[in-house]
Amino acid sequence: MRTLTTYFGLMVLLLALMSCSSSKQNYNIQPSVINTTKAVRVSTIVEQRSAGELLRLQTIMLSQFKTKVRYKVEWFNDSGVMLNTILSNWKVKAMLPKKPYSISFIAPNEDAVTYKIFIEKI
């Protein structure tokens, strides 16, 4: 009887915890770099945003080998909704070995508060 009560209590506790965790989904998007190429390294992203200005990003790509990549940025507002803009188009870069390439982006408007940068080999 005691074992049954214990199991029942644990089950109730588990159900309560599950309902608490699913009550609100978090759409928070963290700034990130999604780099699917093993040969290309990306340095730390430098962010700049003065009051009333647009968010600007800059970073450096470096490849060990001669390669061709394409990269883009997707911008998101504070609700996690992606902003549709031509500034998110793919850009192509032919990279020479061990030569650093600086890439920069500017947000389409002041709603853009976070971003994802994509880099892939083509």
């Binding site: 031509i86 793919w90 500017i106 408007n109």
Partner: protein
């Protein structure tokens, strides 16, 4: 033997018809197909994107009190060998500038007259008893532009090493303050293509 030839011809015709490709819709956001020597939608998109980036970074369209400047579209000349509607470039720029909330474009004034003549046609309803005059646009309500956007698309052809053809396209734009006549922003975006001399760029 004659019957065999006829059968082979029929089979060959069927095979050829089966090989013809059906049209496919291009995913414009992930189009990795080779480019041609002429200007295609990807070139206009790239040029427009770089122009908008340059304009936003320059700060020329940052209004001191945070409101929006009014922009009129002036003459954009096509100096290429292709039949281009310069709106292929300008419309993309206008859409991005509008989304930036720094600029709004007037369609009542442009180099070719009003882009949307309805602004004027609606005013002809004044003193027309059929219309509620309180809903007709009043005098002195249109907003004059602060800036104008003008430019040119240039093409230069040349022959390079091993008889290849190089086509240089230059997208040039200027943003002029209408009050002072001064260009507060200018940019030139080159798009260079190199290919076989057998291809054409028109």
């Amino acid at each position: 033997m004659n019957n065999l030839k006829k059968v082979l011809i029929v089979i060959a015709l069927f095979a050829i018809s089966a090989c013809t490709s059906t049209p496919v819709k291009v995913d414009v956001e992930n189009d990795l197909a080779p480019t041609g020597m002429g200007l295609d939608y990807r070139d206009f998109s790239e040029a427009a994107e770089k122009m908008v980036e340059s304009m936003l970074i320059s700060g020329a369209i940052d209004h001191p009190d945070g409101s929006r400047f009014v922009l009129a579209i002036s003459r954009i000349t096509n100096d290429t060998m292709q039949r281009i509607d310069t709106d292929q470039l300008v419309k993309k720029i206008r859409v991005s500038l509008l989304k930036s909330r720094k600029v709004v474009v007037t369609t009542a004034v442009s180099a070719n007259g009003a882009e949307d003549k309805m602004s004027y046609q609606a005013r002809e309803l004044r003193n027309n008893d059929e219309f509620d005059q309180s809903r007709v646009a009043g005098k002195g309500t249109m907003i004059a532009p602060d800036f104008s956007l003008s430019g040119k698309i240039i093409q230069r052809n040349s022959t390079t090493h091993r008889n290849k053809t190089q086509v240089d396209y230059y997208f040039q734009l200027s943003l002029t303050d209408i009050s002072s006549g001064l260009a507060y922003w200018e940019e030139e975006i080159p798009i260079i293509k190199r290919g076989s001399s057998n291809t054409v760029s028109w």
